[in-house]
Amino acid sequence: MKILICISDVPDTTTKIKFTNDNKELDQTEIQWIINPWDELALTRAIELKESLGEKIESITVINVGPAGSEPTIRKALAMGADNAIRVDADPKESYFVAYQLAEAIKSRDFDIILAGLDSADYNGASVGGMMAELLDMPSVSAISALNIENGKVFINREIEGGTQKLEAQTPFVAIVQKGIAIEPKIPAMRGIMMARTKPLEVVAPANADCLTENIVYELPQPKGACRKFTEENVNELVDVLHKEAKLI
């Protein structure tokens, strides 16, 4: 079985978001880039499967749409345990554009399971996996919180509104994963970091793709007013305020 994981690099989750150029651009000066947390869990699960199933998992490939600057993130994925990587050399402008680039790069290759994260911690499109699946004319299953392979069959749990379903899925398909697929991301070991340097990273030229949306301006949320404090002794007053002033209860 061949597994592909789509990875994007996003600002570290502790980043204080700021904008420049009249709020038209993200201020990147102090940003640390990391693998999108959902993608990192997807990759972690693929590696776990390879560890338990051995050669039945023929290869783990990661793919990223990004400029050369995203290679440290790709190398980190290789250090975690991916076998090889593909980078589509384009600025990831918006979801449709990225999904299109992915689909173009993937369609001539052969994968059984393509993993993508449910959301991304930057523009929160929650969209690339589904769009890519449609462009590839492949089935997709979303919000997967467990993925197992037994005797060549793929079993998944997916969360739906109001419950969890256990499903058997035929390959090939796009698995859009969330929390639960793995719990703690795999941390690259020294040996992995050394090996990552020589693992194949193929750079492919971008396809001609349209953009359907454009972020024209950003804004930060209104700063909160001061917090009104209460103590253990006057919880009643808080309830009064919530009831009479805020009319929330």
Partner: protein, 324 residues
Amino acid sequence: MTLLVYAENREGKFKKATFELLSYAEELAKSINADVIALSVNEISPDELNKLGHYGAKKVVSVTDEKFALLDNKLYTSMIANLVEKENAEIIIFPDNLTGRALAPRLSAKLKAGLVSGVVSAPSSYDPFVIKKKVFTGKAFADVKVSSAIKVLTLSQNSFGIKDPSGDTPQIEDFKAEAVSEKSNIKLLSVDKITGKLLLTDAEIVVSGGRGMRGPENWNMIEELADVLGAATACTRPVSDEGWRPHDEHVGQTGKIIAPVLYIACGISGAIQHIGGISSSKVIVAINKDPDAPIFEVADYGVLGDFKNVLPELTKAIKEIKGS
């Protein structure tokens, strides 16, 4: 021209989020002089279908074919795309929840229609089409311009509100979707339903616990408070990682992003990754024994104290109000 709304039901009843979607769609429809059409999938009573009209749908399209009994993203997308074409829909609106996130991106790619997910208000302009959404997990907003003729939106819950159900009885129509003939790639083996419990993503009030709650044995206090408030329960990531609470309650950057009217955070420090998931809440109440806990920076109201003393007091005081 029409606006198509994906009207989701849970166990045969339409959800509040669906009524909010319709209220929102009606507002947009007024601005562009269009009609709202609601799509309902799976068997549901005529009374329920009529409600969709009361909240703004002129017409309700009902799909009851067996092949849509199980949510298959690809099949559903084909069916909805057929309907978009048939009804000449220009804006398609989904809830920003698991269902919307499963379907909206596929539909967007199929129709080559720009997608804006997590929309928080009505468009600020229709030509060009510009609309506001959340980005960076609630840390900022973006105004997004959509250049395609057809647009797909997912609406963030509790961002618009629900109008009075004063609309007329809608026209109800069956839709057969015969063109969708493919077979699903998934087979259902079993379902684990959350029954009798308010869903986190539907709730207007959420009571949430963090590591400061010490252990699962103290959650009865969270549940009792949630009970009197008619609230759903949530937790922080370490709490679900430890297995104190199920994963579907994990809120934050890597869990669910919610926007209730009232969020009560108990024993939660307020890490930036957690705040990302709750910052769109209208009002935040924090209960924490550490006066320097960062949660107080984002909270509107705070109680400095031990949850063991605060929670029972809170529950008692609210019971009194509710009782009177």
